[in-house]
Symmetry: C2
Subunit: 576 residues, 2 copies
Amino acid sequence: MNKILRVNMNDLTCKVEEVPAEYATLGGRALTSTIVAKEVPPQCHPLGPNNKLIFAPGMLSGTPAANSGRMSAGAKSPLTGTIKESNSGGTSAQQFAKMGIKAMIIEGQPKDDKWYRLHVTMDGVTFEDASELVGKQNFDVIDAMNAKYDTKIGVMTIGIPGENRLAAANISVKDPDQKIRSHGRGGLGAVMGSKKIKCITIDATGAGKVEIANPEKFRAAAKVFAKGMLDHPVSGEGLPTYGTNVLINILNEAGGLPTKNFRYGTCEHHDLVSGETMYDTIVKRGGHHKHGCHAGCIIQCSQVYVDEAGAYITSGFEYETVWGLGINCLIQSLDDCARIDNAMDNIGIDSIEGAVLLAVAMDAGVLPWGDGKEALRIMNEEIGKCTPLGRILGNGTASVGQAYGLTRVPVVKGQGIPAYDPRSVKGIGITYATTTMGADHTAGYSIATNILKVGGFVDPLKKDGQVELSRNLQIATTSIDSTGMCIFVAFPALDIPEVLPALVDMCAARFGVEMSVDDFVGMGARILKMEKEFNTKAGFTKEDDRLPEFFEYEPIPPHNAVWDFTPAEIDELWNF
Amino acid sequence: MNKILRVNMNDLTCKVEEVPAEYATLGGRALTSTIVAKEVPPQCHPLGPNNKLIFAPGMLSGTPAANSGRMSAGAKSPLTGTIKESNSGGTSAQQFAKMGIKAMIIEGQPKDDKWYRLHVTMDGVTFEDASELVGKQNFDVIDAMNAKYDTKIGVMTIGIPGENRLAAANISVKDPDQKIRSHGRGGLGAVMGSKKIKCITIDATGAGKVEIANPEKFRAAAKVFAKGMLDHPVSGEGLPTYGTNVLINILNEAGGLPTKNFRYGTCEHHDLVSGETMYDTIVKRGGHHKHGCHAGCIIQCSQVYVDEAGAYITSGFEYETVWGLGINCLIQSLDDCARIDNAMDNIGIDSIEGAVLLAVAMDAGVLPWGDGKEALRIMNEEIGKCTPLGRILGNGTASVGQAYGLTRVPVVKGQGIPAYDPRSVKGIGITYATTTMGADHTAGYSIATNILKVGGFVDPLKKDGQVELSRNLQIATTSIDSTGMCIFVAFPALDIPEVLPALVDMCAARFGVEMSVDDFVGMGARILKMEKEFNTKAGFTKEDDRLPEFFEYEPIPPHNAVWDFTPAEIDELWNF
C-alpha cells in the first residue's frame, strides 16, 4: 500500500516503487537522510545532475497524533555542502502520508530549458508545463494553483530566487490558511530550481487514512502525549500566548541576544519587538495570537500578525526572524519586521538566513543600520529579482561576507548563525559547531537547558556539561525530526517522564513493532552518524566543526564572554 | 648583514630581526611558505588579524644569475583558503636582496580606518599616510610615486579591488619599464588590503651588492646555466620570439585548448589570437616582441604590445590570459584582449582568474560571448569600481559560479583552472587537483612533457605516468620557486644535463654551503609537504584534491576525453 515515488527529471518519468523493508519503520529525517546517504554521491555538485531531492512525511504524519504533520526534505545542500534535512509544517506531509507516499525521490535534470510542475495524485506523478508559473513569487503561485484546482490542493513551490538557484532559497509549503510554511534552511529551493521544478501540486483525492497497526495502543499513548504537551509551561502556555518570540526578553536578560551583527549580547530597544509587545499589538489590532502551522497542532505557536487596519501582514513570525531583523539589524519597527518576514515568504528565502545576512550587509554599508524600509525594498527588488546585489545577498551570509571582504561573518559551514550568541550561551555554540547541518539551533536546542531550565540546568556561561548536553539533544532531535513532530515536543519530553515513552509507543503502534525508548534514541544516534559520514566523504573534517574566528577574539558584553572551547573539547561531541 | 623586517600593523612598528640560522640558505617560496607554516594559524580568517603577508626574494635574487629576479609573496589565501605562494617579476626582489632584506613579514591590522604606505629604506620601514593614494588604480599609484621620488623607486601596490578585499585581487609590482608585473594568483592583494596597506615603496639608496660566498664557483656555474638557457629551443627560441602565447596553436593542435568555458578542446579562430599573429602584429606596428620582466632576464618572453598608432597597450601579455579572453571567452580581437589585459594590470586583478571568471560570467548571461568591449567595460567599471556585479566577479570564478548557480565552474579549491584542459592533457589535471595552491599550472607544469616533449614524453590522453610526472614536477618546481628563478628555467633543466647542477652550484656558491642536486630537490619535497600539512590543518582533505564534477560527465571534443582518474589514483601523488 505504501510506496516510494521515484521521479526522474532526465526523461520525465516516475516509477512507483515498493518500500524496501529497511525503510518500513522510518520516516522524516531518518528516511530522507538515509536515502541521501545511500543514493547521493557525497562529492557531487549540489546543483548538478547527481544530487537528489527527497521529501518524506514523518513516521506519525497523517495520524491523529498531535503536532505530527511535518514534512522532511533532504538533499546535499548548496549552502553548506553538507547533507541537509529541513522540515516544514503545511499540508503536504499529511497529504503524502494519507496517499501512502512514504517518500518522493527526485533525481536528474531536464536536458532542455523547460520548467515543470510535478502534479502528484493517487495515480502517480505527471509533468506539467510550468512556463506560466515561472517568474512568479510564491503567493502568486499558490493563488494560481488554488484557482486552477481548489484550495485543497497541496502546493510546494519556489520563488524567483529558487529558480535562480540562490543558496538561501527555501521550499515554501502551503499551510491550512493558504499561507506559507518553509523548508527553510540550507537552500533546498535552489536544488528544486536546479531540477527545473517550479512547483509541486498535490491532489489527495482518493487518499485513505494512515494505517495504524495497533489503534488501541496508539490512542492511549496519544492521549498521554497530548496531555503532556498541554501541561508543560513552555508548550502549553508560553508558546501559545507569545509564540516563539517570547524569547526576545528572555535572551536579552541572559545577555545572549546577538545585537548589531553579534557585537553585543543585549539590546536597548528589545521591548519594541518582544513577544509581549507582539501579543499586545496583535490583540489590539484584532489578529490571532494563536495559530497552527498544520492541522492537528495543539501548541499553536504561530500567529496572524495584522496591520492597524486589521489586514494580514504575516504569520509564522518566529523569534529567530524577529531577532534577526529587530535586534541584530536594529530595525525597531515590528511592522517593518513583519513586512520583511512576509516578503521572505513570498520570494522564498529562508527567513533566518535572510535576517542574518542583512546584518552583515549593514556591516558592509550596503544599507543603513535599522532601515526597515530599505531592507524590505532589498528583499523585494534585489533578492526577489535576482539583481547582482540580490545574488550576493540571496546566496547567504557567507556570500555577503566574501563579497565585501568581512571577517565578522557569523556562519558555520556556510550557514548563518541564528539568534543565540554562542559566547554567552555556550551549549548552543557546541551545536552550531558540530551539527551535521551547518549552524542550526534546532539541531540540538541547548537553549532549553541553558536558558529555559527545561530538562535541568547547565550554566550557559561555563563550559562544563555543554558538550554532553548538545550531544544528547542532537541525538534526541534526530529521532524527533523523524517522527514528523515539531521540535517543541522536546520541552514536555525533557521534563515530563511519560511523554517520551508515549511518543515512542505511538511510533511502535503505528507500525506494529516493538520499540523501546532506547531503540528510538538509538535510531537518532545511528542517523546522526550516517549524516556525519556523508559529510566526511564530502570532504568535511573536524576542522570544519569550528566557529568563526571572531568569536574567539571579540568579547561580547555584558558578560564579556568569548568562545573558549579547545578543538579537542569540541571534538568530544562525536565520541559516542 | 641580512635581516628580516617584521612589520606590525597593530601598532605601526617595524622590528629588524636577525635571520634565524634555519632560514639562512632559504629564499623565495621555501622561505615564505616556511614562515607562513610556522607563524600563521591554519584556521585563521585570511582577511583577519591573524593572517600574515610575507615577501621574500629568491635565493639567487640580486646576484648576476640570469633570470633570478623574482619575488615570492606568501600568506593564507582568501581565494582558496590554502597556503599560497605567488611570485612575480619586477624590480622589488632585486632591491630587497641588495638591501639585505631576507624577508618582510607583515602582521596585524590597524585598529582605525586609515590607509598606509610602507616605505622601505636601508633604515627600516616607515608608515606613511596613504589617504591620497586610496581610490587610485595601479598605474596612477606608480605615477604618483615616481613623481614623489624618482623612477628608481620600487613600488608594490594594490588597486581598488585589493582595497575592497576581493579575492581575485593581486599585488602589482613595478617593472623596469614602469609597467606592472603581478603576484597574480590567490588574492594576495586582498590580504594586503585587509592590512590597510595601499602600497609599499622601496628606496634602495645605500644598498650594496648581494654577497656571494664563493664568487669563482658562482661565475663558472652561472655561465653554464645561461648557456643552457640560450641553447634550449623553448627558452632560447620559442619564448623569445612568440612569448608564452606560442602555445595557442600548439594546444589547439593537441585538442587541449579549452574553448567557450571548457566546452571544446579546439577553437576555430585560434589563429586570430595566436603567438604567431601576435608577433606579426607587434613587428608590423613597431612594438617589441622581446622584453624582460626583470633586469637580468635572458629569455625575454614578454613583449610590448602596441596599437596601430604605436602606442602602448600592454606587456606581459601571457598565453594564459590570451587563451582565457581570446579562446575561452571567444573574444576574437587581439587588441581587445590586450586592452582587457592592461585593465587587469591597472585595477589589480589576477589576469588568469579574471579571464576564467569572465567565461563563467558569459555562461551565466552576464555579457555576450565574445564581447570584448563589454568585457573591458566590466573590468574598468564593475570590478574596478567594486559595484555589486564587480564584487561577484572580482571574488573569482567560484564566486561567479555560486552567484549564478552554475555547475560548469572550472575551479579547484576555489581557484580558476587555467589554459590547459585536464581531460585531454591529463598530467596537468593531476597538478590542478593535487597542488597545495588550488588549480595552478605553474605548480607542476606537465605541459612540458605531455605536449612540448621536454624531459621526455608522457602521452597526454592516457593516465599512465601522469601522477609520477606531476609529482616530480611539483617537487622540482617548489625548489625552483625558491631560487628566484622564473619557471621557464625548467625547460633547459629538464633536457640539458648540466643546467640543474649549475643552478644548484650557484645556490651553493651564493651561501657558501655544500649542496647536491638531491639536497636541492629534497628541499622542494620538504617544503611541499610542509605546505600540504598547513592545508590539512586548515581543514583540507584528499576529498578536496578533486576536479569539478563536470569534467567527469562532459566529454571534451575532439578526443571526447573525460576526467577518469579514480580518487585512489590521484591520491598516489602524495606518496613520497
